[in-house]
Symmetry: C2
């Protein structure tokens, strides 16, 4: 395999692969990483990179090739899987989109944590994967470590998922939880989220619902199989929520949550009143995703929506799944 | 396949198989039911039973064989899968235990909703299945429709599950939710649960934690891989909970829940105080199961813990999984 993107997530995936060597051996998974690509250059060794060395010495490692970039290397690289972990870009999906296309076109499976290419071109990419007989898995893009795509694709396969409701962004959930539990204004809660590192200096993407809407687009395409785009999502952020609104809701047994919802007629992210006892009423930075299904009825999943190690759980879940399928078909 | 047990769950599985014919065709699953066994007799046709006819006409259906019983028929039946749905018996696991053994010994996979044989003989049965190269899956035994065993076995495979915490019995959760939301005594809440059909005439099994403890034993063996038995579980029921205890807890932001917990040192079911904002604080008859893991951290699953259709979702999830594995290895 090759790792494209070597920020916090790429490093966490590498570390967890080292930690879990014994487990991998037991289940017959022997990962060989032949390339790790980042912006300024890459580590390349078709006999297999030395991960501990790269994690310790970085660009001083002998396998470092200054200026080598993923786009040019992916097509001819001798490996069967590209793990794409570059930063999400919902404007044009790049550089991820090109990486996905190059990988699939050269007969490689793709596992990703990058929402950008899926938000921009989900149907095209799935068609391409199918045409090339390759897999494109993206568990890490929505709900962090929570295995929702796996559940829908496998364990709940007999069910039709009718709608999906969820809290898809940990930053906005943290802010609303803070306002609910301790009172205070939106701007005070945002400031605290920024101080704790839960919100970016420019928080627009999280608090205005754009991140959540991007995830809804992936849920709509990936689980409900409807070709929705970002522009189809009705979006309303949380920056206009006042302490008075929250108090008023609480008096009636409700809490205000930033909820994403998609069914075959509607796709939207907006503040909504949720009964306090609802499975959706989870606090802090947690994410929650609830499937309404025809046979199992409602199934709800709660977990950490972010964090490099948590994300690596989802990425490695996808990698192990592909390994299993490929081995069984050999 | 053959269905053993044709009560509410067996009938729901049959109905859902009929409803989902189109989906099954699409994924290449062509179920042929050659036998359906109940106490007084069985429907048998090695060319495939007519399910709609049996669901409509019962024992008047021409395939009915009075007195034919599962125990004698299972070994020689020409099928590859036994779906065991007889009633749970935690005293000696019968008749399920014999059905499991006969099925595995004659080279058939087993899918079940029956906790009894697993509570009595989990390690023995798993060893037998392994020795015979057969699968024994039991998603429906814990948490109804919630795909927890699937998640642990597949999607979260890279994780070590450190502990499992949950509300594993819908009846006792209904009673405690009622007492919390509306006040009133335990006995009043129990009476209402009985009137609504959520509790049996003899509610001991549910309210004294025996059902939850049985499920904990299956979670301990199946997910944590530790050989715990029912007698190892420290059990305390909910019948001594008073409205005063609940009020006192609520004043401090807690609610009283009947919680099952298992890790490598401890296995217990007892009333515990849970913070109101915890993912475990779900109401009504819902079940919740939370895995503490090393990489993904806490992952929580919420859903309906009972109901024939909900249970059939879990059973069919297991059946489709076996179908996939067997097809891939043909």
């Amino acid at each position: 395999m090759a790792l494209v993107g070597f920020g916090n997530v790429g490093k966490a995936v590498s570390r967890v692969m080292l930690e879990k060597r014994e487990l991998f051996q037991k289940i017959g998974f022997e990962p060989t990483v032949v390339g790790i690509f980042e912006k300024k250059g890459s580590w390349i060794d078709e006999k297999g990179l030395n991960l501990p060395e790269i994690l310790s010495y970085g660009e001083s490692s002998p396998s470092w090739v200054e200026g080598a970039n993923a786009k040019e290397w992916i097509p001819d690289l001798d490996c069967e899987l590209i793990v794409e972990m570059t930063v999400t870009n919902i404007e044009d999906g790049e550089p991820g989109l090109t990486h996905f296309r190059e990988a699939l076109n050269s007969g490689k499976d793709v596992v990703t944590s990058n929402k950008g290419p899926l938000v921009i071109a989900f149907p095209e990419l799935m068609d391409l994967a199918e045409k090339r007989g390759r897999m494109l898995l993206y568990e890490a893009t929505v709900g962090g470590a929570i295995p929702i795509f796996y559940a829908a694709r496998e364990a709940l396969l007999v069910n039709k998922v009718i709608s999906i409701t969820g809290i898809l962004n940990g930053t906005s959930n943290y802010i609303l939880t803070k306002m609910t539990d301790e009172g205070g204004s939106f701007s005070a809660a945002l400031r605290e989220a920024q101080e704790r590192g839960y919100a970016e200096a420019d928080p627009t993407y999280d608090i205005e619902g754009i991140d959540a809407a991007s995830k809804l687009v992936i849920l709509a395409n990936g689980i409900l199989k409807i070709k929705k785009k970002l522009r189809d999502v009705k979006i309303e952020g949380i920056s206009k929520i006042t302490p008075e609104m929250i108090d008023l809701a609480m008096e009636d047994g409700y809490i205000v949550k930033h909820i994403g919802y998609v069914d075959r007629n509607k796709i939207e992210v907006m503040p909504r009143l949720i009964p306090k006892s609802s499975p959706l009423a989870v606090g802090g930075t947690l994410n929650v995703i609830s499937f309404e299904t025809d046979i199992a009825k409602d199934i709800t999943f709660i977990g950490r929506g972010a964090g490099p190690r948590e994300t690596s759980s989802a990425i490695l879940g996808d990698i192990l799944y592909i390994n299993k399928i490929r081995k069984e078909n050999m």
